[in-house]
Subunit: 144 residues, 2 copies
C-alpha cells in the first residue's frame, strides 16, 4: 500500500539534510559548505571569471554572481576588472585562504563520517549514481 515516493523530492531532502550537517561541521571555520566548495573552485581555477566558475560548478551565472557577492561581503574573495572589459576576475583573499584551510580537516571529517555511516562500498556507489544523474539524456525512451 505504501505509495512510491518522488525521487526528486527524496534527493532534495537528502541534500538539505546533508547541507545542515556539513554546515554545522564547518561552522568553526566560519564558512558554509557552499562557500567551502566555491572557494575551492575559485582557487583551483586561479583567478577565473564568473562565467568560468559557473560552468565549473554547473550553477546559473546569476546564482554564482550572487553567491560570490556573499563571499565578497565576507572578505573571502575580491573582484577586479579583467583584461576583457566585460569580465570581472575573482581572487581568493588571504582571509578566504585561511578560512578554507581551516575548513579542510572539518570537511574531511564529514566526508569520512558519511563513508562510515553508509559504508565505503555504498558510499562509492552513491557517488556513482549521483554522477549518472548529472547527465540528462536527450531521450531516455529512445526516438527510433
Amino acid at each position: 500500500m505504501s505509495e512510491e515516493t518522488c525521487l526528486c523530492i527524496d534527493l532534495r531532502g537528502a541534500a538539505q539534510n546533508l547541507t545542515r550537517r556539513y554546515d554545522a561541521a564547518l561552522a568553526p571555520a566560519g564558512i558554509s559548505v557552499t562557500q567551502f566548495s566555491q572557494l575551492h573552485t575559485i582557487q583551483m581555477l586561479a583567478q577565473p571569471t564568473l562565467q568560468r566558475v559557473a560552468e565549473a560548478t554547473g550553477l546559473d551565472r546569476s546564482t554564482l554572481g550572487r553567491n560570490v557577492r556573499v563571499l565578497e561581503a565576507a572578505g573571502m574573495v575580491s573582484m577586479s576588472a579583467g583584461e576583457d572589459a566585460r569580465t570581472r576576475v575573482i581572487k581568493v583573499t588571504r582571509k578566504g585562504r585561511r578560512a578554507f584551510q581551516r575548513a579542510v580537516p572539518l570537511w574531511s571529517g564529514m566526508q569520512n563520517e558519511m563513508k562510515a555511516q553508509l559504508g565505503g562500498e555504498r558510499y562509492t556507489l552513491l557517488k556513482e549514481l549521483l554522477s549518472d544523474l548529472k547527465y540528462i539524456p536527450e531521450s531516455v525512451g529512445g526516438t527510433s
Copy 2:
C-alpha cells in the same frame, strides 16, 4: 590525482538537476514538483495544519508556510481557522485537485524515465541510500 568531490555538493547538484527535469515534465499541469509533492501531502493528511505538513515533509515550518502561501496565491489550496485558534487548516481546492490529477501521469512518466535511465536495480539502491541519508546518527564514530 583527481580530488575527492564533496558528497553534499554532489547531492545538491543532482537535486537541482532533477528538479529542473521534473518541473519541465510537470509544466503542462501548471505546477512544479514542489507543489506536486506538497499538494499530495496535504491531500493525504486531510486538512492538516501547517505544523503537520511541516513534520510530514521534514521542512521547516516557516518554509512550509511560505510555500503554502504560493499555493494559496495560485488558488490551489485555501486556509481557514482551525478549532484550535492557534492553527490554520489547509484544504486543497478543486483547482488544486485538478492540477494534481493532471500532473500524476506526467510525474509517473518522469519516475519511469529515471528508472530507465538508472536501471531498476540501481534506482532501488539509490532510494535506499537516500533513505539512509535522512537519518542523522547521534555519533557515527560511536561513544563507547
